[in-house]
Symmetry: C2
Subunit: 203 residues, 2 copies
DNA sequence: CGAGTCGTTGAACGGAATCAATCGTCGTGG
DNA sequence: CCACGACGATTGATTCCGTTCAACGACTCG
């Protein structure tokens, strides 16, 4: 859908009230902080993550330049996760009240916002769906198929394999192993971070 | 948040254009169908699910009476999952165009809609977070803790344990076993579908 | 009264996590 | 400019624990 494509950033044509720089690993906000701003990445990269019972951390979302983040927090009082700059980043700030007012006055903006949220819901559901596949091999295959259906059986990974492993909920060793196996069996072909699916029919 | 509480159904005060009955296991829509309506459950229960590569199915969402579903599809051309009546159900239908028009004209409705979507994003992220916990025991504990933080260490399950197991991504046998173990160790107490957490400090 | 489902426990297997070690690359600072 | 550390990518060996198969009682509903 071109609709979903064009809505990566809610604020294309808006003026941020402020711009701030964050160094790698610096927190932009923390779980429990009151929601004052909506953010967008100008340069760099931001990860939304949460801490579990014992020290483990979970990546909930990765935000790249041109994308906004913490949209879902607009209708909450506090943040429910941490935002960390995974690279040195320039972050655009939009005060919450101003954003809400704009959404109220500008139907176009509101529609874009709803489309963004809808897209996130769909993306999250897809990720959840993947997690219900027990077999590592099948999970990887399903992921590749989902991404290939949009383009033509060619996938260009934007992130590292390690990052993909954590997105798929697999140990990175397992991912490497299965990828190697899939390649040896002639099901996929790899060239760095580009993957091609060679077979359409398997089960 | 009271805000999130009051937004379970987008349509509290709206008139559905139509009402239809579905018997158990009947499809309300299927993956790939064009999006014509937004739905709400009057009576019964509806599950959103998707099929994976080999026959497995994943429950993406469970909708109870008074709640709307397929909100995220409003900004898509086709449905990305199946909707199945898991009980005999009375379903309320709202034509897509009408809904979009109302959202445009009525800021209150639009705000509620955004709040619903935001809440879904947060819920899905939380579910995803749980899936990143490998250990069955820790995953269950984290789930219980998350649910208990809102009330006072008492949890009333609305669904069966089997359903919980699939929500947690565990075989139901595993869930039963760990629950039994947790109870024997004095960490929780069970009475049917009511669970009480006895200890606050463990790791 | 059977069919269906939930709840429960036992036993065995398999596969993914984990620990460990190596190599290459990139960036940083001395 | 080189050394060092950090991190990604890769492969091997071992352990562990969650799935799976199986069986049974309780309960509901038609």
């Amino acid at each position: 859908m071109s609709k979903t494509k064009s809505t990566e950033n809610l604020f294309k044509d808006w003026e941020p009230s402020d711009t701030r720089h964050f160094s790698q690993r610096e927190f932009i906000f923390r779980q429990g902080d009151p929601v004052r701003y909506l953010f967008a990445v100008g340069e760099g990269q931001v990860r939304l993550e949460r801490n579990t019972v014992e020290g483990r951390q979970v990546v909930l979302h990765t935000t790249n330049p041109g994308q906004s983040f913490s949209e879902a927090a607009l209708f909450s009082d506090i943040y429910h996760c941490n935002a960390v700059a995974s690279l040195p980043s320039r972050i655009l700030l939009y005060p919450r009240d101003k954003v809400l007012k704009t959404l109220r006055d500008d139907w176009q903006a509101a529609e874009r916002f709803m489309a963004i949220l809808s897209g996130q819901v769909r993306t999250l559901r897809t990720r959840l769906e993947l997690r219900n596949i027990l077999s590592a091999r099948d999970r990887i295959l399903q992921y590749l198929l989902l991404r290939a259906s949009q383009s033509n059986s060619e996938i260009n990974l934007k992130h590292s394999f390690k990052h993909l492993a954590s997105e798929l909920g697999l140990a990175h060793e397992t991912l490497y192993r299965e990828m190697a196996a899939l390649e040896q069996e002639g099901i996929i072909k790899r060239d760095g971070r580009q993957i091609t699916i060679l077979t359409g029919n398997f089960k």
